[in-house]
């Protein structure tokens, strides 16, 4: 598993993909920081971070798009399926490599709250707990999005189809809470319960919600597992 993980991670940084994603993300974060924190004169970075959630709907599929389609393109799918490594380890290795890239990308933005600390006249206004909580929430949200996007991409052999369908899936997921709200009733409640974004707020207030942590982890594990099941199923077709 570690082997697959290392190879995938190295492969991200060998191609321009990782740098493009990170550069793009940092540019957006910088812009939001300017709007929210500089012009808006707010010392809270948590708000800025939560407004970035919508951008994840298309950044995340770009991160996961090549994980399976590249294997198909190189013909290395055969290699992975015929090597003495169980499929679940391969899937997990791939997932963790994308999660690592995402985490690195997210942690880079910590530059901005650090900047706030240095610029602040009155440090009591800075919500460090909220900021810290937001980072945990943001990474957990990313982890669940990555898992969904990985699952979607395991259905196709084409990189572009993987990306587009990943975006569609994540946009639906992103609006699931609002859809749930407008539907109301049991269906609405169920949708809301499953919406990863609905639990985001549990962390940003500066508290730590254990149940939500478990939700995010379970949600991610479930989709990684479904990815594995889907790939095993393909072997029989």
């Amino acid at each position: 598993m570690l082997t697959i993980y290392k190879r995938e991670l190295a492969s991200y940084f060998r191609s321009p993909v990782a740098y493009c994603i990170m550069g793009f993300f940092m540019a957006i974060v910088g812009l939001m920081f300017w709007v929210n924190n500089i012009i808006g004169r707010s010392p809270q970075f948590a708000d800025t971070l939560s407004s970035l959630g919508v951008f994840l709907t298309f950044i995340v599929p770009v991160i996961t798009m090549k994980l399976f389609s590249d294997e198909k393109k190189n013909g290395t799918e055969v290699l992975l399926r015929t090597c003495p490594v169980p499929m679940w380890k391969i899937v997990l290795g791939k997932y963790l490599s994308s999660l690592t890239l995402f985490t690195v990308m997210t942690l880079l933005t910590a530059l901005f709250p650090i900047l706030i600390v240095f610029m602040a006249d009155d440090s009591s206004l800075i919500g460090s707990a909220q900021d810290f909580g937001s980072y945990i929430a943001f990474i957990l949200l990313g982890a669940s999005y990555l898992a969904v996007s990985l699952f979607v991409s395991s259905f196709t052999e084409s990189q572009s189809v993987a990306t587009v369908s990943g975006i569609v899936a994540l946009v639906v997921l992103y609006f699931m809470q609002s859809i749930g709200n407008s539907l109301g009733g049991t269906t609405g409640a169920v949708l809301k319960w499953f919406a990863p974004l609905a639990r985001y707020g549990d962390f940003t207030v500066g508290s730590f919600n254990f149940a939500s942590l478990i939700f995010y982890i379970t949600f991610s594990v479930l989709f990684v597992f479904l990815t594995y099941v889907n790939l095993e199923r393909k072997r029989w077709n």
Partner: protein
């Protein structure tokens, strides 16, 4: 070493394999023959655990590929039709990655890689990116990949396709050199390849096994009848030449093939196990003609193969 039993594979409506059974003994090089689309690659993909069969079983070294995939896969080195290479890695990085996934012990790694690079002769390419390698070199890196971990069984799917004649000869030599330590299944539709390196042959067509045996079984089916082509020239005419040939002891049949400038070409068939060449020479000389060419026609593997493959559809209609 390898046991394949009643393998059936259906892709939707298409029946790719229809009950194939054969086995490969330790140390054997099995030539796996068949026309395009016969099911060679499908069989190999099932054998190596890439895809699963609809029914039937495969066991390698006593391990079932479905029940104990990891153990079985450890015994197999597979070179698929398209070598499975990561374009963005160098040869060295790639082979080290393969060592990792095949869990080759760290201590052995360097020695083994050096040995493999030497065997497949890609030592001077080790720091090149795979995407910059030529087809022949990629094929060798693919073969190197199969050799990592020193697996007991090698499964090679058309290993010489797309190589130039010199490379083909090199790869064949290489495969022959590997026979001492490995059991090898080699699929191909190049028949010289089989006569050059294989000890046993399995022929499939339309998903069915149509023939199997040792290479000598296939080629020695000749000899029942001796046939040769003869080309004679001289002042005497065609009918004189034919008469002279026919009058020779042991000659059963003479067929005129064609005239070529001032020479005549005949097909001559003799009695079983009789060498009529001396008699023919004397008879032709007596008729005042000269022999320009005398060439025996053996039943080659090629003819054998075409016979078998052509016969098959007729058989299945009878069923």
């Amino acid at each position: 070493m390898i046991e394949i039993k009643d393998l059936v594979k259906r892709y939707g409506q298409i029946q790719a394999l229809d009950g194939i059974s054969f086995h490969v003994r330790r140390g054997e090089i099995l030539g796996f023959l068949g026309p395009n689309g016969a099911g060679k690659s499908t069989t190999m993909n099932i054998l190596t655990g890439y895809i699963s069969a609809t029914s039937g079983s495969v066991s390698v070294g006593g391990y079932d590929i479905i029940d104990s995939p990891v153990e079985a896969k450890k015994l197999i080195g597979y070179l698929p039709e398209q070598p499975p290479l990561y374009q963005d890695m160098t040869v060295n990085e790639y082979l080290r990655f393969i060592c990792d996934i095949k869990s080759v012990p760290l201590k052995e790694r360097k020695r083994q890689l050096d040995e493999i690079l030497y065997i497949v002769k890609i030592g001077d390419m080790r720091d090149r990116l795979i995407k910059n390698l030529s087809k022949g070199y990629r094929q060798r890196v693919g073969l190197a990949q199969a050799l990592v971990g020193n697996p007991q069984v090698l499964v090679l799917d058309e290993p010489t396709v797309g190589l130039d004649p010199k490379q083909i000869i090199e790869i064949r030599k290489l495969i022959s050199a590997l026979r001492h330590e490995h059991t090898i299944i080699l699929s191909t539709h190049i028949l010289q390849e089989v006569s050059a390196v294989c000890s046993a042959v399995v022929v499939i067509n339309r998903g069915k096994l149509v023939a199997q045996g040792s290479v000598s079984d296939f080629t020695s089916a000749e000899g029942t009848v001796n046939k040769f082509v003869i080309c004679v020239a001289g002042a005497a005419g065609k009918s004189d030449a034919q008469k002279a040939l026919q009058s020779t002891d042991g000659v059963r049949r003479v067929d005129f093939v064609r005239m070529d400038k001032d020479s005549y070409i005949f097909n001559v068939e003799s009695e079983k196990n009789t060498d009529v060449r001396r008699g023919v020479f004397n008879a032709v000389a007596r008729a005042g003609m000269a022999i320009l060419e005398l060439r025996p026609i053996g039943r080659t593997l090629e003819e054998m193969f075409i016979d078998i493959v052509n016969k098959e559809p007729v058989q299945s209609e009878e069923e």
